[in-house]
Amino acid sequence: MIPATTSDAFLLALESHMRRAGQQAHLAATVVDLSGQPDADRLHTAAARLAARHPLLNARIARGADFLAGWHPGEASPLPVEIHPRGPLDALLARLLEHPRIDIRRPGPNLELHALPTGDDRWTLVLLWPHALFDAIGIDKLLAELDDPDESRREDWGETSKAGGPASALWRTAKPMVEEMRSFPTWRIRSLRRPRHRAGSPRFQLLRFTPQQTATIRERMASHAGELLMLPYFATVAARATRAVLAGRHPDADIPALLSLPVQRVANPRKRPLFQNHMVAWSLMLEPGDFGTLGETTHTLHRKYAAFLRRKLPGAMEALMKLMERCPSRFYLKPAGFYLKGEICTLFHSHTGRFADGTDTLFGHEVLDGFHVPTVSDPPGLGIFFSERSDRLTCTLSWREGTLSPEELALLTDTLRADLLGPH
C-alpha cells in the first residue's frame, strides 16, 4: 500500500462529493498536438511499458482501518489505447469525459491513451487521467517519459508535505487558516452553482490564442499589472469574468470572489515525484470593494498573496490538510460547506505555466501545442485554467451542464477576451 498524500486526500474528498452528487469521476484530459500521423504499434508498446514501469497506473485508492487513504497497486494490466477516426477534438473530449471508464476505487488502468488524426500531417494525443492520482506537473513529467523504452519498475511517488507531529501541535499551526476561513462568510460567497438544480455532465470550451494574440495578452499584462505578476493577473482576469456572470444573476448584490488557487509545494519539478498530488490550495478573497480596474485588482490580489505568505498561512493550510487526512471523504468538505452556505469557492483557477516544458518530441513527432482539460465539481461549477505552449496561450473553460446558460457562457468568454486582448 502506498500512502495517499494529504493533497490526494483532498482530491479524494472532492471526487467523493462529485460521485454522490451524480457528477461521476474527477478526470482530466491532457491534449498534445503532434506532427505526422499516429503509429498504433508505438502507442501500444509505450502503454505496455508505462504499465510495467509504474504500478500506480493500475492502483485503486481505499481508506484503511486507521482511516488513512492509500493506493493499492494491482496487476499490471495494459493501458487502453484507441486510435480514433479523423474528426473534431471537442467531440472526442466530450465523449471521453462524459462516459469515463477510469475508476480509482476499483482495480484497473488509471490512464488511457487516445490518438486522433486531425489533419494530413497532424494528430492529437489525448491522455485521460484521474485527478486524485496526478496533478498537471506530474502529467508533464509523464509526457517527458511517455516513449521511454525502460520497463523496470519505478517507485516515483511519496509525500512532499512537511506537516507532521502530534495533533495538538498541528492544530496550533493550522489555527490561523481556520480563523481565516471563518472570516470568509463576512461576504456572501456565490459560485455558478444553482441550489435547486442538479449539475449535469462535464462541459468545456477552449479559447486558443495565436502567437500574435498571446503577445498582445503579455503586453497588456505588462502595462496593466507588470510583466512578472502573471499569477495574480490571470487569477484576476478569471475572477472578473466569473463575477460578470454572477452580477447578471444577482444585480443587487455585492459580489466577492473567493479564489481557490493551487500552489505547487516543491519549487523544482525535477525534485518531486511524478505521481500523486503535491499542491496546497491558497484561499484568497477578493471583496466587492477590491474590484476596480484590471491593474488595480491585480495589485490588490498581489498584496493578498503577500499577506497570505507573511501570515504563514501556506504552512497553516498544510497542517490543516494533515489534520484532515483521516477525515472520511463524505465529511471532509462539510465545514467549508457549512460556513459558506453550500459553497466551496467562487471558481477553480490555475495558470500552470509552460505546458510540458522541455518535451519537444513524442514518438518521433514534434510537439506543436498542448493543454489540459480538467473536469470540475459543482459547486463551484466552473474552472478557468490557463497554460502556454510555443508562445500560444490556451484558456480552458470547464463547467457542468446546467451551471451556465448559453448567454452566460457568451458573457464569460466575452469578458475574458476583453480583459485579455482589450476591447474590440
Binding site: 512578472l228 505578476l229 505555466g353
Partner: protein, 77 residues
C-alpha cells in the same frame, strides 16, 4: 549582498539542480511568478526594504547581481 541573495534563492525559493552564481539567468532555472512573489517578501525581510510592484521586472530580477542593485537602490538614503 549577492551571497545573501544567492542563499535565499538556493535555499528558500528555487532549489536548483546545480550551482548558481551572481550572473546565472534566474528565469532559466525556474524563477516564475510564484517564486517572484516569495522572493519579493524574502528580500524585504532580509534587507529591510520595500519593493514596489512596479519594480518587479525582468530587468531587475534576471540575475542575483541585478537584484542586489535593486535592493541597494532601495536602501540608498
Amino acid at each position: 549582498m549577492e551571497d545573501d541573495i544567492l542563499r535565499i534563492l538556493r535555499d528558500d525559493i528555487l532549489d536548483p539542480d546545480g550551482p548558481i552564481t551572481a550572473d546565472t539567468d534566474l528565469f532559466d532555472i525556474g524563477l516564475d511568478s510564484m517564486a517572484i512573489m516569495q522572493l519579493q517578501l524574502a528580500l524585504e525581510d532580509a534587507f529591510s526594504v520595500a519593493i514596489d510592484p512596479a519594480d518587479l521586472s525582468r530587468e531587475n530580477f534576471r540575475t542575483a547581481s541585478m537584484i542586489a542593485a535593486l535592493v541597494r537602490s532601495k536602501q540608498a538614503p
